[in-house]
Structures are given as structure tokens and as C-alpha cells.
């Protein structure tokens, strides 16, 4: 499998990043090299193996839906780069 600059550019957009041209060049060739290395996995027969998203014998860990203490609005907003009252603010989305 190969990864070209267009694919890297597209993936960067999906990940909400923009790459400068030098960065794109370098990353594309590094990723290509990494993918060649990773491709060794395609040689393995995995038909019998179940996928392991984690290794614990756990599924659907549930708890009671009961109220607990939580952060106050002041605490939750303390690290905000921009805020207005009890809200995070961001650049305008709707004209």
C-alpha cells in the first residue's frame, strides 16, 4: 500500500491540521517508509483471530445513573482561551 501527498493532505484535513509544503513533502515520505514496514502484517494469516480492541475480559461496564458532585462552571471554564459568562466562545459560525 502506498500513501501519496494528496492522501496525506486529505488525511490532514480529516484530522483538522494544515501542513506547509515542506512538511507535507517530509511527512509523505516518512509515512510511506513506515507503511512499507507495517505492510509486513499483510503476510500473516489472521482468518482465525478475533480482533482485540483491548485485553480485559470486560464488556459493557455500567453504573447507576445517580447525581454526583461535578465541576462548577467557573472550574470548567478556568482554562478556556476565550469565554463569555458561562460559555466558551469561538469565532462566529453563522453570518
Amino acid at each position: 500500500m502506498s500513501i501519496d501527498k494528496e492522501t496525506v493532505q486529505h488525511v490532514a484535513h480529516l484530522a483538522r491540521m494544515e501542513l506547509e509544503s515542506g512538511e507535507l513533502e517530509k511527512l509523505s515520505s516518512q509515512l510511506q517508509e513506515i507503511l512499507v514496514f507495517i505492510d509486513k502484517l499483510s503476510l500473516l494469516d489472521v482468518k482465525e483471530a478475533e480482533p482485540a480492541s483491548h485485553i480485559l475480559p470486560l464488556s459493557n461496564v455500567l453504573r447507576e445513573d445517580s447525581p454526583k458532585e461535578c465541576l462548577t462552571p467557573e472550574e470548567a471554564l478556568r482554562n478556556a482561551p476565550a469565554k463569555d459568562g458561562n460559555f466558551f466562545t469561538v469565532p462566529k459560525i453563522i453570518e
Binding site: 496525506v8 509515512l31 483471530a49 482485540a52 470486560l58
Partner: protein, 479 residues
Amino acid sequence: MEANRLTAHELLGALKEKRLSPKDIDEAIYARIGKIDSKVRAYPRTGNSGKEADEKAVGCAGPLCGLPVTVKDNICTTGLATECCSRILSGFYPPYDATVIAKLKSAGARIFPWKANMDEFAFGSSTENSCFGPTCNPWNTAFVPGGSSGGSAAAVAGDEAIWALGSDTGGSIRQPASFCGVVGLKPTYGRVSRFGLVAFASSLDQIGPITKDVEDSAILTGAISGYDPNDSTSVDYPVPDYTKSLGMDIKGLRIGMPKEYFVEGLDEQVKLSVKEAAGKLESLGACLKEVSLPHAQYAVPVYYIIATAEASSNLARFDGVKYGYRAPSESLMDMYKKTRSKGFGEEAKRRIILGTFALSHGYYDAYYLRALKVRTLIKKDFDTAFGDFDCIIAPTSPTPAFRIGEKASDPLKMYLSDIYTISVNLAGIPAISIPCGFTREGLPVGLQVMAKPFNEEMIFRVAHAFERNTEWHKARPQL
């Protein structure tokens, strides 16, 4: 001897008998940092925040008696900046303590006010990827301390800390412990709560101790372990008194050495030290045999799909809205993109893009799903091996510490430095790195001991038997 050079268990004795006060310990640590940290740079933020915290009067309370613990910069601590050594989290002060921090505080420990350096978001094996600049190896400052918990390991090795917490996703506690000649444990997945650990790869991450000897490791592991309702992947399984595993003999224990690990790529001096260590364990009565982990060679590629896929998802939260850095911008999309492009360093961007690619439409089955299946095969290798063996020993890293800059421009080469540690995270088992020798150049070598899930006791038993009968852990760098 100066207080900062002692182990935690030695200090606990001295504190309880009032031969030393917490203030004496603090003064010794600050003096040491003042003397050597301009060379080691284990603590990137000395000189700001936190001073006021350590001036509060402290007494000897709880089992940990006021002892300070140095904490990696990706573990949330109220009142202390927690930035994962990344520009994108600059100025972040967590509104809560990680569960491990709360546990340490309630056991009477104090959190050292300066957080330890690390590779940005734990992405790296050398601590060169910190936005604050690299940490240097106390044994030779031209060399890396390993990573990503390089600040924690260097601080402990250089006696700038009594003990420390790190986090280990693919070797980030064990490899720096090995490079710095100290003891580092990655507990079983689910043994220690991840609540308040800034997530890198949620199915692999564990917090663990970096200490000067095995006894300290047993004490600190006991203090941070246990079920936490705030982490649904923490396991409700009793926490034994790990110090009871110390001092036991290892006669008749069956120890395996994976033949797949002793191949090309393993440094000759590392190989020699590890073989000598194996001989030592044999002389103590253990029964050593070769074991096979047939899928070992697939661990690194599997890891770099699973870990980057999980990281790309976990790091989506850094968008400039809720905390940290925000780039000036006109539109919301522009804000996301500029913030993330300027806020993340090179390795973080590389991993986010690789992970996003592995999860994206058209590639998911070929990469991510296949990697999850191979992970099962790797885990089965260990299940089979532990049917015949009580523990497995191996080198921690294929090489001793490398020079700063040596692998910085070759990500694949850097990734391969975790070739012996990564499969442990994929299988979820516990493993420790303990000092087992030095190269001719005077760089430490680490021995890795792995055991079945939730059998940290076996690890402490074997590691302590080795330590009691060797002197490697007593060596200190000359700085």
C-alpha cells in the same frame, strides 16, 4: 549521605524515627536540582510555579509520611501545570487530581511541585520531543535518557527525585529506566486507574513507578493500584501487599528467554549483560529455558497502527476551545486547523496523521482491523508461554542509550528502540526493568522481567532476588 540520595524505604525509616524531617529531604532535593538540573533538565519548569506549595509545613502523616513524589507532566495535578510538554496544552491547570495523585496524597505523600519532562504527549523514546527541549542522561549528558518518561527516569537516576511516576504505552517507563539505570514497572493493564492521565492510547496506557530499587517499586505500586469507578477499565481485583514478595527465594521458578529477542539488532554488550543476568538467576536456583513468542516481530507494526489510531482519536479534543493554546483566526475551521498545526510538534502530527489514515475509509480493514487481530495472536503467544513459565526475561531495549540527535530524523529507527517492550503493552501484562550491567562506555543496561496479568508479585519476587545478589542498582552517575 545526603537525603536525596537515599531510597524511599530508607527515608521512610528515617522520617518515622525523626532522624530526618520532610524539610531536610526537600532541601537536599532542591540543592541537587540547583547543582545539576541545568545539565540534566529533568524539570523543565524550575523557577516558576509550585514554590509556595512546598513551603507549606508538612509533617509525617500516613504510610508515605510526607515523602515527595515527582510526577510526569501528563498526569493531572491540581494547582500544578499539566501540559504534556506540548504547546497545545500551554497554561493548563487541571481542575482535578488524577486518581493516582489522590491516592498518593491520601497515603501521606506530597506531589513534588515541579513536573517531569517527557516527549510531547508521550510520543517518543528519547524525551527529545518535548516543547521545552530535551532531557539529558545523567550518566552521560550527550546521550538521551530514553522516553517518553525521560524526565522522571533522569530525575530519579540523578538523585533529583526520591521516586517518580511515569506512564508506559509501549515502553515509556521501562526503556528510560533501562537507559538511566533505575527500576521502572509497567503494571498490568487495569491494575492502576488511568483517570486523570492525559490519554495517548487508551487500551495500552498504564501509570507506573520509577524508583531507585525494587522495594521502592513495590511500595509505590501498592500505593497507586486498585479499582477506580472513574476508570471503567480498572479492574476490581484485590491489591496484595507487594512488599511481601520481597526477600523470597526463586528456587525452582521456571524462567523463559524468548529466542526471537536474541537476534540481529541486539547490541552485543546488552546481550552479554542480559545473558550474565540470566546466569545469575540460574545460580539462584531458577530453571532457565528458551521460550518462543512466534509473533514477536509483528509487535512494532501492530503497535504503530493501534497506538496512533487511538492517539488520533484521543487528541481530537485539543481544538483550541476548552483549554490550552488557541491560534488567532477568522473562522471556526481555521481556528481548529491553525491551533492544531501550530500547537502540536512534529512527532505528534506524524502520529495523528498515521492514526487517522489507519482509521479512514478504505484503509480501516487493511490496517486497523488487521492490527487488532494480530494483537490477539501476540497475546496468545504470551498465554501459551505462561502455561510453561512463571516469568519471562528479556533485554528491555536492544541498545543502551543513544546520542541526542542520533535517531531524531528517522522515526522508524526510533520506533524500533521499543521492540522488546511494546508486546507487553499489547498483551496487557506487567513488566519491570531493573539495572543489570553497564557498557564499556559506562551506560546502564536493563533487564526486563514479565509475568502473567495481575502477577506483579512474581515480578517483584524475581527482580528483588536478582537485586539482592547484585550491586548494579547501587551505582550512581558522577555529576
